[in-house]
């Protein structure tokens, strides 16, 4: 089984909103119709977006840290929004695990939005149907574009490569390795929704290193029978060997 997903690295996201604008551009121009806006150039502009970047401050001044947090549909493996839909407009694709809305079947009752703890769904106020991230389903399979570009628009737009895309059920995929080896986690795990999208945590700039990690245990300069010394000791030893008078042997 395939489960396509995004893995978002909060350690490198700089909060530039390029994923937001790229998402909006691609999805408002697509076959499924526009994403409507109201007062886009006026007071209180509002509109339909699949993806938002939020900002949080962690800690207390002066020890604070800014976390930019991109938020879109997490394509849950057990999506609570799907079974509640009375028309079957909300569904999860078996072949790739993408959660989609059939805009031709949606009656705009908003019950799925109530059933999503993440607030990932937004109603299109003009078309009056529920919309959400499609993982650019109209792009990732498009044979007409170069293979390297067959990724969600937000992924190709990210200037810091904070957004990884792939199959989290394939244990060797880039996203699976990232989740496994870089502490990938899911949002609100308490509700058992099993979000497919994962986040990689912020990492501190401090690295803990032990002394034996900086000295070469298998150094060719080591003398048998002696305990391998510290880097400084090895350098001193090498210095001593070099300082030996030539032809003294």
């Amino acid at each position: 089984m395939t489960q396509l997903a995004l893995v978002i690295d909060l350690n490198v996201c700089v909060g530039c909103h390029a994923c937001v604008t790229s998402c909006k551009e691609w999805n408002t121009s697509g076959v499924a119709g526009f994403l409507s806006d109201e007062n886009p150039y006026d007071k209180d502009p509002t509109g339909t977006f699949f993806n938002r970047v939020q900002t949080y401050e962690v800690g207390e001044f002066p020890c604070t840290e800014t976390v930019h947090f991109p938020k879109s549909c997490l394509h849950c493996e057990d999506p609570p929004c799907v079974p509640v839909c009375p028309t079957g407009a909300s569904y999860k694709r078996k072949e790739d695990g993408i959660v989609l809305v059939d805009y031709d079947k949606c009656i705009g009752c908003k019950y799925c939005a109530w059933a999503c703890p993440y607030g990932a769904r937004e109603i299109d106020e003009k078309q009056q149907v529920m919309k959400k991230c499609t993982l650019c389903v109209d792009r990732i399979y498009d044979q007409a574009i170069p293979e390297a570009q067959r990724k969600p628009a937000c992924v190709t737009a990210c200037p810091t490569n904070a957004r990884l895309y792939g199959d989290i059920h394939d244990e060797n995929s880039e996203v699976s390795v990232a989740i496994r080896e870089r502490g990938g986690y899911a949002l609100m795990p308490e509700w058992g929704t099993q979000p497919a999208n994962h986040y990689l945590p912020r990492r501190k700039g401090v690295v803990a290193i032990d002394a034996d990690q900086v000295s070469r245990i298998d150094s060719p300069l080591n003398v048998d029978g002696k305990v391998p010394g510290t880097l400084a000791a090895l350098i001193a030893e090498a210095q001593a060997m070099a300082d030996r008078p030539a032809g003294g042997r």
């Binding site: 909103h17 937001v20 007062n39 007071k43 209180d44 502009p45 509002t46 509109g47 339909t48 977006f49 938002r52 970047v53 939020q54 900002t55 949080y56 401050e57 962690v58 800690g59 207390e60 976390v67 947090f69 938020k71 609570p80 799907v82 079974p83 509640v84 839909c85 009375p86 028309t87 079957g88 407009a89 079947k105 949606c106 009656i107 705009g108 009752c109 908003k110 019950y111 939005a113 109530w114 059933a115 999503c116 703890p117 993440y118 607030g119 769904r121 937004e122 109603i123 106020e125 078309q127 009056q128 149907v129 986690y185 899911a186 949002l187 609100m188 308490e190 509700w191 986040y199 945590p201």
Partner: protein
């Protein structure tokens, strides 16, 4: 949550219709078993007609809630998984069976009692569906409780028996007092359940926190921007936008006007045989129920709100 007037009207109107029908059927059953005297046929016919009318109004209100009402028929398809879909099926089924019951009663058909029994099944089913629409959303902790179902049932019965008391005063005065006793009984038990709900909800501790929402395990996390300045669907649909003081006022308003005031008015109206007082009792209780339902929605705190705590 932002309380939608359409859903408030739907749930309160069909609640009255269901309670009214149960009152009619209880009397019909008692009369058929020779336990009580049989009131005039007009009482059953008028009651069924009123119940159908209230269901129709509720249905109309529910259409008003939809973004695409012309596609409403599609909502009957996912009954295997969706409580909303089940309600969409059971509500017309209940309405139709009450209509058939009224018609059978009007022509004096012996089948009326059996059609009524079918309507009772649909009636209970409708209470379950309506309640479960809210109770099944487990992360809306204020709703995720059996109390939600019991509350819908009891408030429907309280207001329905209240209306039945008024109807009896007009068409079958002999039944005014017994129905008044039942209406007051349901109202009293409903108050106990609603108070229990309020006490339970006041003690709730949110399971989701901003820490679990963004996955940063630091005791101090503060939102600085939500990604949009002019609001979004997320800020409009999930926040009631009123002050805590306003919420408290609505709570006390419904605790007074949905329970004790109508109970006293029903008692006065039934003992003094004053139709106008009984009418006032129903109107006051219905108004109280509108406030109760508004509060029911407003009090529910959606975990998505954790992502919308600051604009910028």
């Amino acid at each position: 949550m932002h309380p939608a007037l359409s859903v408030i009207l739907l749930t309160t109107l069909i609640g009255v219709a269901q309670g009214l029908f149960l009152a009619l059927y209880a009397i019909d059953l008692g009369a058929s078993l020779d336990l009580i005297d049989r009131p005039v046929t007009a009482f059953f016919v008028a009651g069924a007609a009123l119940s159908v009318l209230l269901c129709g109004l509720g249905l109309l209100a529910s259409f008003w809630h939809l973004g695409r009402p012309e596609r409403a028929w599609r909502a009957a398809t996912m009954w295997r998984t969706s409580w909303l879909s089940r309600e969409v099926i059971v509500l017309p089924a209940f309405t139709a069976s009450v209509f058939a019951y009224g018609f059978a009663s009007a022509i004096g058909s012996p089948l009326a009692l059996w059609i009524g029994l079918l309507a009772v099944v649909f009636c209970i089913g409708l209470f379950v569906c309506t309640g479960m629409i809210y109770a099944c959303l487990k992360f809306l902790q204020e709703w995720a409780s059996p109390l939600t179902l019991i509350n819908y049932f009891l408030l429907g019965c309280a207001s329905g028996f209240n209306l039945a008391t008024l109807l009896a005063a007009l068409l079958a005065p002999r039944f005014t007092e017994p129905l008044a006793v039942w209406a007051i009984g349901f109202t009293t038990v409903a108050l106990v359940v609603r108070a229990t709900m309020l006490a339970r909800n006041a003690r709730l501790r949110p399971i989701s926190t901003v820490q679990s929402a963004i996955g940063v395990k630091h005791p101090k996390v503060q939102q600085k921007s939500q990604g949009a300045m002019g609001g979004s669907f997320n800020t409009r649909e999930f926040f009631h936008g009123r002050s805590p003081g306003f919420l408290r006022s609505v709570k006390w308003a419904f605790l007074v006007f949905a329970f004790p005031v109508p109970a006293v008015l029903v008692w006065l109206g039934a003992t003094e045989d004053a139709v106008l007082v009984l009418a006032a009792a129903f109107v006051v209780q219905y108004a109280g129920l509108l406030a109760e339902r508004w509060f029911f929605f407003a009090q529910a705190n959606h975990p998505q709100n954790l992502y919308y705590q600051a604009i910028s």
